[in-house]
Symmetry: C2
Subunit: 281 residues, 2 copies
Amino acid sequence: MRTYLDCIPCFFGQALRAARIATNDEKQIKRLLDEVGMMLQEISLESTPPEIGRLIYGKVREITGNPDPYREIKRESTEKGLALYDSLREKIKRSGDGLLTAIRISIAGNVIDLGVNREFDIEQEMEEVAQKEFAICDYEAFKSCLDKTEEILFIGDNAGESVFDRILIEQLKKPVIYVVRETPVINDVTHEDAIQAGLDQVATILSSGTNAPGTVLETCSAEFIELLNSSEFVISKGQGNYEGLSNEKVRIFFLLKAKCPIIANDIGVTVDDIILKGINI
Amino acid sequence: MRTYLDCIPCFFGQALRAARIATNDEKQIKRLLDEVGMMLQEISLESTPPEIGRLIYGKVREITGNPDPYREIKRESTEKGLALYDSLREKIKRSGDGLLTAIRISIAGNVIDLGVNREFDIEQEMEEVAQKEFAICDYEAFKSCLDKTEEILFIGDNAGESVFDRILIEQLKKPVIYVVRETPVINDVTHEDAIQAGLDQVATILSSGTNAPGTVLETCSAEFIELLNSSEFVISKGQGNYEGLSNEKVRIFFLLKAKCPIIANDIGVTVDDIILKGINI
């Protein structure tokens, strides 16, 4: 997905929120915003938003000197997710369609996104998404492709959310490679976060190589790109990965909650909609 | 009022909204945002927000080549206000306290503010503000000062809103100087807009000399500044005038609806609150 003009004020809002988590020094934060302002002229609207996010969050780390402002928040999110793990597994056992219930749980987990400016309550979100109609639901194609594939490439999004991805992975009943970011950026899931969430018990964890808040292929490792291009079945979680991958020629199923009006509009849905959308299927 | 860090993302949002009203050319709008980005490092948080707004809306005019993007919108707002004029005058006649009802009407009119990112319905606003409790209500001091003064300096805010200011001026029953912006900026009221609203029938219209979206004294005429400093009774409408005048040493009654969380916080109220607040009283 390209960057829209409306993303520009939002980049400054994101930079401000991240900087405030990293430091209390108002002068440092102003300097960060000044530098983001100066970067703007170098930024093309043809870039994807996570390409620009990568530059901005890099500046946050550089100027505040804090390499991982969201570290503690991520740890707490994963703990909260783990506290719900057993009851959600029970819920799946009681449900008529365990796979679809697990997809809903994984999408509900996508609300744990600190790049967007929203409050959330994960337990309330679980209740809501359990009932909610999908705005786009390529579930039949998803099941049919799942039957035929031998392996699944599952691109994770946020820490905490990954606990709910683990619940979905358990229902896929095929070998899964779970993809994480190489370095901390916002609250995106890294190898360390995935281990905390227990992903190593259900999948092989692999870094995409990127330090962007989304799958920006130009910044990914050759190994990941090759794997992506040879995959028959890819699950991509969340907005950042959608933004980076929506124009690729691989078969991908995007699972996400549309939290931003620009992304919702790009997909053709409205804010708060939940989506299971396949491309190249 | 100083500028807060949170104002910075909002400046970009304001620039984007204004530019979209002025032009459909995406490249021109991107260039405008780039230039606002470059200006950022020159901007001090010690400035008031309308000082910065003045620079930004100046850039909008310069880059889009459109000296008055809101011209038609302002004309329509004033027409809508005028369409309600007779019924609101009737309402005042029927009310127990015509002055307080007129203050409420004037504050309700303050919702016609295109600098903030909000939808509004002026008739619904009239209903709501008629019922709403004031978060700050220095009405007794207002009446007492009004009794003693020989003349009122009334600093207008937005076009359309000025029709409702006219209704209040009619209830003040003292000579009024109605202050407008020197040149068009957002939908702020100018001499031309005030004439369309009929302010010349109830007041002497005077330009403050500014081209800022608020009363930024450094950009006002010597005549206006002298008048302000010698005034015993000043009414200031809206957020932009509050931001410019909140630290002055003159007796001013601020009438506004808090539409922005930063201004609401500065005043010590919450968003959507209505305020009749006197300083130096």
